[in-house]
C-alpha cells in the first residue's frame, strides 16, 4: 500500500513538473497576451462594494426620536474617536467600516431591543444608514437610521438644552 501511495505521489510530482514546463513554453510561444512569470506591480483589484440585499432600514427625523423610549437601542456607527468625543447617552458604539462592512450585529441582538436607531456621521453616504441597512438585512426588526446623523442629533440636543454625558459631551 505505501508503495502505491509513493507511486501516486511521484506521478503527481511528474505531472506538476510537466504542466509547469508546458505552461512556460506556451507562455513563451504566445504571440499576444504573454504575461511575466513574476508580476512587476500590484494588480489593481477592484472588488465592488456588496450590494445591499434584504430589508432597508427606515429613515427617522431627529424630531421623531425620543431617547427615553422603552426598549430603544441607540447605535453609534461612527469611529471610536468620534464616539468618545460625543455620543448620545447609552448609545452602543459599533463603528461602520466601508471597506470591511462586518458589523457586530450580535451586540445588537444580545440587547433584545425592540427598536434599533442607528446614527452615523450624517454624510453622503451616511455610515449610520449603511450600518442600519446591514443590521436590518441580518433580520433584525424595527431598525431605523437618523437623518443627518450625529450632527443633527447633537444640534437638536443642544437646542433642547439637554446635553449628553456631562464631561464627555461637548468639547
Amino acid at each position: 500500500m505505501p508503495l502505491r501511495w509513493s507511486k501516486a505521489l511521484r506521478d503527481a510530482a511528474i505531472v506538476v513538473l510537466l504542466s509547469a514546463a508546458l505552461a512556460l513554453a506556451s507562455n513563451r510561444l504566445r504571440p499576444t497576451a504573454r504575461i511575466p512569470l513574476v508580476a512587476q506591480r500590484e494588480y489593481e483589484v477592484l472588488v465592488p462594494c456588496p450590494e445591499f440585499e434584504g430589508r432597508a432600514a427606515l429613515a427617522l427625523d431627529v424630531s421623531q426620536l425620543s431617547p427615553s423610549e422603552r426598549g430603544l437601542l441607540l447605535v453609534d456607527a461612527r469611529e471610536k474617536a468620534e464616539f468618545s468625543r460625543w455620543h448620545m447617552p447609552r448609545a452602543l458604539s459599533i463603528p461602520y467600516d466601508y471597506f470591511e462592512p462586518k458589523p457586530e450585529e450580535r451586540k445588537v441582538l444580545r440587547t433584545r431591543a425592540r427598536k434599533v436607531v442607528v446614527y452615523g456621521d450624517g454624510e453622503n453616504p451616511d455610515s449610520g444608514q449603511q450600518l442600519a441597512n446591514v443590521i436590518s438585512g441580518k433580520g433584525v426588526k424595527n431598525v431605523f437610521y437618523v437623518k443627518g446623523g450625529a450632527p443633527a442629533l447633537r444640534a437638536a440636543s443642544l437646542e433642547r438644552g439637554k446635553s449628553t454625558h456631562p464631561g464627555r459631551g461637548t468639547p
Binding site: A12, V16, S19, A20, N27, A33, I35, V38, A39
Partner: protein, 163 residues
C-alpha cells in the same frame, strides 16, 4: 475496499471530473492575464506567486483532466484533482469569510462569472468528494492503467512460461 464494482462506479465520476476540469482550464489557458487578475482578486497569494500560479494551474488542470478520463495514472490524477479542490475550497472559504463580493473565476473570467457563495463551496466540496472516491476506492481503474497492467502481466507470462 477492493470490490471490483468500484472501478465501474468511479468511471462516471472520473469522466465528470475530467470534463469539469477540462472545461475549466480552457479560458484560463486562453487568457492567462485575465486569470492572473482572478487569482490576485482572492488576495491570498503573494504577488510573486500570482502569475506563476495563473500560468501553471490551468495546465495541471488540463493534463489531469485528460489523465483521469483516459484512465492513465488515475490515482495521481485523482490526487492532484483532490489537492486542487482542497486549495479552491480554502480560497473560497477565505474569500467568503472576508466578505469579498467577487466571482470565483472557475469557468469564466471574474467579470462574467457568477459571484461566489456558500453554494459554490458546496459544489466544490462535492467534486472534492468524487476525487477522494476515485483516489481511495478505484484501485483498478477502467482505462489505460488496466489495459497496460493486463499487457504487462501477459508479457511477463509469455517471457517466463516455465514458472
Amino acid at each position: 475496499m477492493s470490490w471490483r464494482g468500484h472501478a465501474w462506479l468511479a468511471l462516471p465520476a472520473r469522466l465528470y471530473l475530467g470534463f469539469v476540469f477540462f472545461y475549466a482550464c480552457l479560458h484560463k489557458i486562453a487568457d492567462p492575464a485575465a486569470f492572473a487578475l482572478d487569482v490576485a482578486t482572492y488576495q491570498l497569494l503573494p504577488l510573486w506567486l500570482v502569475n506563476l500560479t495563473a500560468l501553471v494551474l490551468p495546465w495541471i488542470e488540463l493534463v489531469t483532466s485528460v489523465m483521469i478520463v483516459i484512465g492513465y495514472r488515475t490515482r495521481a490524477a485523482a490526487l492532484l484533482i483532490a489537492g486542487m479542490m482542497l486549495v479552491f475550497i480554502v480560497a473560497l472559504g477565505w474569500a467568503l469569510g472576508q466578505g469579498l463580493d467577487m466571482s470565483c473565476g472557475c469557468f469564466a473570467s471574474s467579470s462574467t462569472d457568477h459571484p461566489i457563495s456558500w453554494l459554490t463551496m458546496l459544489r466544490d466540496a462535492a467534486w472534492f468528494g468524487l476525487a477522494l472516491y476515485v483516489l481511495f476506492f478505484d484501485h483498478n481503474p477502467v482505462g489505460l492503467d488496466r489495459w497496460l497492467a493486463a499487457r504487462r502481466s501477459r508479457t511477463r507470462a509469455f517471457e517466463a512460461p516455465g514458472r
